[in-house]
């Protein structure tokens, strides 16, 4: 390994370590409170060194969102793709999303807190968050469309409308689980999803196949 490559590799490792910590921080205390100075102190690194990695608070925030998007992709979107198209994939997506909400060592979902913190601001961070939620909506809508093409959801179902309602259940689960600590959160969320599908499936058999225990 050349010296230049070694230096780059060390730099990448530091960047990765910083992003992991910044991601945890943003989940717990919110993206707006994430500053290069406090993060450097927290990691025992020099502020100037950290500044050299990211350039500005805004660029650090954007890097954290990109890191979070990668984590979500890995933990939620990609695993769902290994399930058969249609309702089984949608149920897998839903279940992994519930786990994401409860995950992060109970540190909170960086996307949702960023969405609420930045929704009335302007700028690239806000745009990045809105963009991520737009992509998430598009992913769910596509999965609904595939369920329709597979003949599981009826022709009168509107995939974008179902995606809107699907995400609403997840948002309510977030509050029920994390804020209200309701023990019935998962049961309520699953019942809501089953109910959403039940009004659009082409036959009851489709439903009992994906919700075998309820």
């Amino acid at each position: 390994m050349t010296q230049a490559k070694r230096a780059r590799s060390k730099g990448e490792l530091t960047r990765q370590k910083v992003l992991e910590r910044a991601f945890a921080w943003a989940g717990a205390s919110g993206l707006p409170s994430l500053t290069i100075g406090e993060l450097a102190a927290d990691l025992g690194l020099s502020k100037s060194g950290l500044f050299a990695h990211f350039g500005s608070k805004e660029k650090l925030q954007l890097a954290v969102l990109e890191y979070a998007a990668g984590q979500f992709e890995q933990q939620v979107f990609r695993p769902a793709l290994s399930h058969p198209r249609g309702l089984p994939r949608l149920v897998a997506l839903f279940e992994d999303w519930l786990d994401w909400i409860d995950g992060h060592e109970r540190r909170g979902c960086v996307f949702l807190s960023a969405a609420i913190d930045f929704d009335d601001r302007e700028g690239p961070v806000r745009d990045a968050i809105a963009d991520w939620f737009g992509k998430a909506d598009a992913m769910i809508t596509l999965a609904m469309t595939l369920a329709q093409r597979e003949g599981q959801l009826g022709c009168d179902a509107d995939p974008a409308q179902l995606a809107f309602e699907f995400h609403g259940i997840l948002l309510k689960y977030h509050l029920a689980s994390r804020l209200s600590r309701r023990p019935d959160g998962r049961v309520r969320a699953r019942a809501a999803l089953r109910s959403l599908f039940s009004h659009h499936v082409t036959s009851p058999g489709v439903l009992s196949h994906v919700f075998p225990c309820s």
Copy 2:
């Protein structure tokens, strides 16, 4: 008016003015960032004077939540009570809640941002937010129960489950409207509510009565 009464009345006026400003601040920048020092500077008041009114940052945050609860009561819960029991009242509650989400001069909903900011913390502020959302759930559940007693929703409908789904739609509307600025937010939210009711009404006539134009 005695001197003591005048002083109390002036104190109440100042408190009211401070709370109005603090409420707007908390909606825009979040409850955690609300400090007595910055608020005093913003209002051109002395920090010690403001401290005398509230005593601590935490007590100020609790006072803001109480003020916000009063505003919500006045703008959302109470107007709904003037509508007939059952679905008309639920639809009125829903519509006023949509307006609340879009209101506050686009400053954001203090409850939702506080819920996300405080959900992983402990203490009286977190408890107050969880308590408010618990009461909101109970209000919606009661309205659903009344719709059932009025014979509009079937006996198999579970009011608490319907309340969970009702609030999920509102949360998704919050993101769709404020973060994503989707022009179809209201149409989607109303379609979701209509769909939620349509699966539980005892007759289609009930539905066309409360959604006359769709």
